[in-house]
Structure formats: C-alpha cells, structure tokens
C-alpha cells in the first residue's frame, strides 16, 4: 500500500515538474489561431509539425542555428586545445607560481559577467570584433576555459605517472608518450569535458546578447530571449524553437548522466 502511495506521489510530482515543458510542447504543435484562442486547450485535432518547419522560414532561426552550432563547435575545440595544455602543465609539473596560476583560474570562474561586460564591449568594438561570430567564439572560449582546465587537471592527475614513465623507458619521446599513452587514456575525460564545453557555449545568453546586435550574428538563446517585442504572438513557432533548442542538452544529459551528476558536484566551485 505504502509503495503505491509513494509511486503515485512520484508521478504527480513529475507531472508538476514537467508542466512548463509539456505546455510549451503542446503549443509548439498547434496552429496559430488555436494558440491565440480562449479557452486554451492541451490538444487539438489540427496539431502538426508545421511550426517546426515554419520557424526556419518565417523567423530567422536558420541563421541562428548555424551561428549557434558554429560558435559552440569552435569554442569547444579551442577550449579543449588550450585547456588540455594548461591541464597537463598543472597535472605533471611542479613550478614556481603554480598555486598562483591555479588561483587565477579558480577566481576567474567566479567572476560575474556583469563586472566585465562594459570594458569587453568597448574592447570588442575597438578591435572590430563586436557583433561578429569570431568575437563570440573567443569570449566563450575564455569563459569556458577555467572550468575546462579544472576538469582536465583532475583527469590528467588521475592517470598514474608510471604509465608515462614506462613509455619513456621503452624509448618514446616525451611528446610521443603524451600522444600515444596519455591522450588515449584521457580520452573519456576529454570527451566528457568537450560535452560540457559545448553545452556551456550552446546555452550561453548574457555575452551573446550584449555583444551582438543583428540577426546575422545572433545565436538561438538570444533569439528566444529577445522574443517579446520582436516576434510577438508567434508563440507556436517560438515554442518549437525552444523545444528543438533543448534537444541537444537533453540528449547529452541522457548519454552522460553519471558524468553529469559528478560534474554537478565538481562544478560546485563555480
């Protein structure tokens, strides 16, 4: 009996939690006249996937999507390249200033976006990177770096140094040891970190909002966030955009639930 009450409670709570998502999903399938009809209904016989197609033609979501993918992809690659060098340095070397540099990265992770945004805006305008995708890629790389370095530092430290030493004794050069032994071992860690970085850039809103000003450079979250006032009343297409935009994070979460939960706890430093 108690078991069934608990199960019932679990399901009711799940329904409550999913209310905003389900409502958005229902809206994303309805034709516009029914979205703007009273009383609102959950379902309608006219539900279709049309809003999911229309948003790419009537709203600038084709450009937004390309921009988002491009920015997130480039920022991830760049962050991983630069971050793994730094993570490797922290994990394998003892050098003067190590603690100081670690502290810089730790602190820069806590830096509120609001406290750097005005000078960044001025800087980007001066060097001609304001309202460009390249500018956004570089900014995202910088804000993702501290967390990525932190994660990779952990992954590299977890690989015993003896593995590398054995490769060195067997006649590998230092670089070959890194490439042939350390990198393959760190690959799962690198993969997980890449997903975090991708999601971080994909979801990033504040900098993307303030450092872009035209439809050609906006990313999806900016398009959704600026919705009111720009594309008023097309709630069905906007809902479709919101749902589509949420799929990559959800899929990644499904794939990497364990790592994700661990990351939650590790990310607690932010």
């Amino acid at each position: 009996m108690k078991r069934y009450i608990t199960a019932l409670a679990l399901v009711v709570v799940a329904a409550l939690v999913f209310l905003p998502i389900l409502w958005t999903f229902a809206t994303s399938l309805k034709p516009l006249p029914e979205v703007n009809a009273y009383p609102p209904r959950w379902t309608s016989p006219n539900m279709s996937l049309h809003p999911y197609v229309d948003m790419f033609f009537y709203l600038p979501f084709t450009t937004y999507t390309i921009n988002s993918l491009l920015v997130a992809f480039c920022a991830t690659v760049l962050t991983l390249l630069i971050g793994s060098l730094a993570g490797f340095a922290f994990a394998r070397f003892e050098f003067p200033g190590k603690r100081f540099f670690l502290l810089i990265f730790l602190l820069s992770q806590m830096l509120p976006g609001a406290s750097v945004i005005v000078p960044l805006f001025q800087l980007m305008s001066t060097v001609g990177l304001y309202n460009t995708l390249l500018g956004l890629i570089l900014i995202h790389t910088a804000i993702l770096l501290p967390f990525v370095i932190w994660l990779l530092y952990g992954f590299f430290s977890g690989i015993p140094r003896e593995v590398e030493d054995a490769a060195l004794i067997d006649g590998c050069s230092r670089v070959a040891a890194l490439r042939r032994v350390l990198l393959p071992l760190a690959l799962p860690g690198l993969g997980g970190t890449a997903l975090f970085a991708f999601l971080g850039s994909w979801n990033e809103f504040f900098f993307a909002l303030i450092l872009t000003e035209s439809d050609t450079t906006r990313t999806i979250p900016v398009g959704i966030g600026l919705f009111v006032g720009e594309f008023t009343d097309v709630w069905n297409q906007m809902s479709a955009a919101a749902i589509l935009f949420s799929i990559p994070p959800l899929v990644l979460f499904l794939m990497m639930r364990q790592t994700f939960v661990k990351g939650l706890v590790a990310g607690a430093v932010k």
């Binding site: 199960a7 679990l10 009383p39 730094a86 190590k98 750097v116 005005v118 804000i143 499904l254 590790a266």
Partner: protein, 289 residues
C-alpha cells in the same frame, strides 16, 4: 625537460583569461572612477562620484532589495523542494525511482532562457494554462497579469528560478542521504524512535553541511543571475522586478551611463568576492559535499 615548459603550456590559457577577464575587470574599476559615457567617451577622474550616483539612485535600492529577495527566498525554497524530492526518491521503490530521478533533474539541464520562456508562456494572462485553470475553478474571475503586475512579477520569476535550481539541491541532498550510515537508523529503531524523531535527530543533522554549501552556492549564483529575470520581465513592469545584473545593462546600454554601470558592477563584484571567500572557507573546512 626545460624549466620553462609549463609556462609555455599555460601561456595560451593565461592570455585568454587575462584579455577577456582580468583586463576588463581592471578597466571596469578604472571606468568606475571616471566620467565616462558610450556617447561622449572617456572623461576626467571623478573619484567616487559614480558610486555616489549609484547610491543616490532609488532604482539601485529597489534592485538591491529585489536581488536579496530573489537570492534568499529563491534559494531557500529551492532547497526545501530539493530536500522533499530527495526524500521521496530515497524511498527506493524499484525502477520507477530511477526513472523519476532522471525526470526530476531535467529542469536543471534546460537552458535558463528556455525555462524563462516556458514559464512566461505558462503564465500568459490570456492564453496561459495557469490562468485558465484558476478561472475554471472560479478562484479568479479574470486572468491575472502575472508578469505585468508589479506585485506578482518578482514572485513569478522566483518560482521559475526555484524550478530551475531545485534539481541541483535534490542531487546533492540525495547523495547526502545515501551517505548516512544505516546503523544510526537501526540504533534509533532499537531505542523505539518514531519516524519524525529519526528525521529530526539523524537525517537533518547529517545533511547540515550539504545544506550550508547549497545555500551559499545558491545565493552566489542567484545574486549573479541575469537570464531568468531578463527573459521573463526585463526587470519590469516599471522596474518592479529589477535585479542588480539587469540594472548594470540598464545603466550601461539603455541609459548609456557607463560610469554608473561600471560602479554598480564593481559593487556586485565586491559582494560576490565576499560571498565566494565565505564559501571557499566553508568548503575547504568540510570537503566539497
């Protein structure tokens, strides 16, 4: 191995961090001490004038009050909800628990922008399902303009924030619950303790350190949160739900008053430093979770 190798490896990362984070922070401090505007450019040194102007602005005090409410009430509610859900999940009644555990975490994974958008639509005065339910149940006769009314706007944003933040608390609390040694409960059962007494004397004290970490982190994150408020209300109506990070944008890019924007953002930075130092001290004493 050369001694300079680690520095070469660190160089690109440092370059990015310095150009995008450290330099702007220093420049921001510099801006906050000068007369400066987007239109007229850099002016003379003005000492603490910009800070005085921030403090004299009633909008700042309103935003400050709202931010404190948003951070404190929002975080505590999220902790409450997170704990309740964690207890529910901890009853472990088979496979359904795992599935639900996954589903309950979804709001944390959803982008804040989408979360704000979904709540905004749910609360829409004419076509939102919440108002429709309230009218159907005859609780109200006319739809409430949730986000258009100065008395309810901030409250609604807090609810959306709780929705997004509770999974983090839930996951941490669940880990905390599962780390409590079973012997403690067994000993209490031998002594004839009721479920309520076990909860108060065993469960809660064991979760204390997790709760403190969560409280601090929640306050730090909410204090710094721009997205939810901006997407749902942009700080309106008539600034009723304005919070400090949104006000920085308002000062700098709407009123074009960079001096005031910089001064305000330095104040936010200072507050966050203090909170973060407290957090780091607590964490290093107790371990991360």
């Amino acid at each position: 191995m050369k001694r300079s190798t680690p520095y070469f490896l660190l160089f690109p990362a440092l370059l990015f961090t310095i150009v995008v984070l450290v330099y702007p922070l220093l420049q921001n401090l510099h801006n906050s001490l000068r007369r400066v505007s987007l239109i007229r450019g850099m002016g003379d040194w003005s000492g603490l004038l910009n800070y005085e102007r921030v403090f004299q602005d009633s909008l700042f005090w309103l935003a400050f009050q709202n931010t404190v409410l948003y951070a404190s009430v929002g975080t505590m509610l999220a902790l409450g909800v997170g704990l309740a859900f964690a207890l529910l999940l901890n009853m472990k009644i088979g496979r359904i628990t795992n599935i639900m555990g996954f589903l309950y975490t979804v709001p944390w994974v959803i982008s804040p922008v989408v979360a704000g958008f979904a709540w905004k639509w749910l609360l829409n005065d004419n076509f939102g399902i919440i108002n429709h339910w309230l009218i159907s149940l005859s609780i109200v006769t006319e739809g409430i303009t949730w986000l258009g009314d100065p008395t309810t706007a901030l409250l609604c944003v807090i609810v959306a924030r709780v929705w997004q933040f509770y999974p983090f608390a839930m996951v941490m609390f669940l880990a905390g619950l599962q780390a409590i040694p079973e012997e403690q409960y067994e000993a209490a059962a031998v002594d004839g303790a009721s479920t309520a007494r076990k909860f108060i004397h065993i469960t809660l004290p064991n979760l204390r350190s997790v709760a403190i970490v969560l409280l601090l982190l929640g306050v730090i994150w909410s204090f710094n949160d721009f997205n939810m408020v901006f997407v749902m209300t942009r700080g309106g109506p008539i600034h009723a739900s304005m919070v400090l990070p949104v006000l920085v944008r308002e000062f700098s890019f709407v009123q074009f008053d960079l001096g005031k924007g910089s001064a305000l953002s330095m104040l936010i930075f200072g507050t966050l430093i203090v909170l973060s130092v407290i957090y780091l001290r607590v964490v290093s004493k107790r371990g991360p979770a």
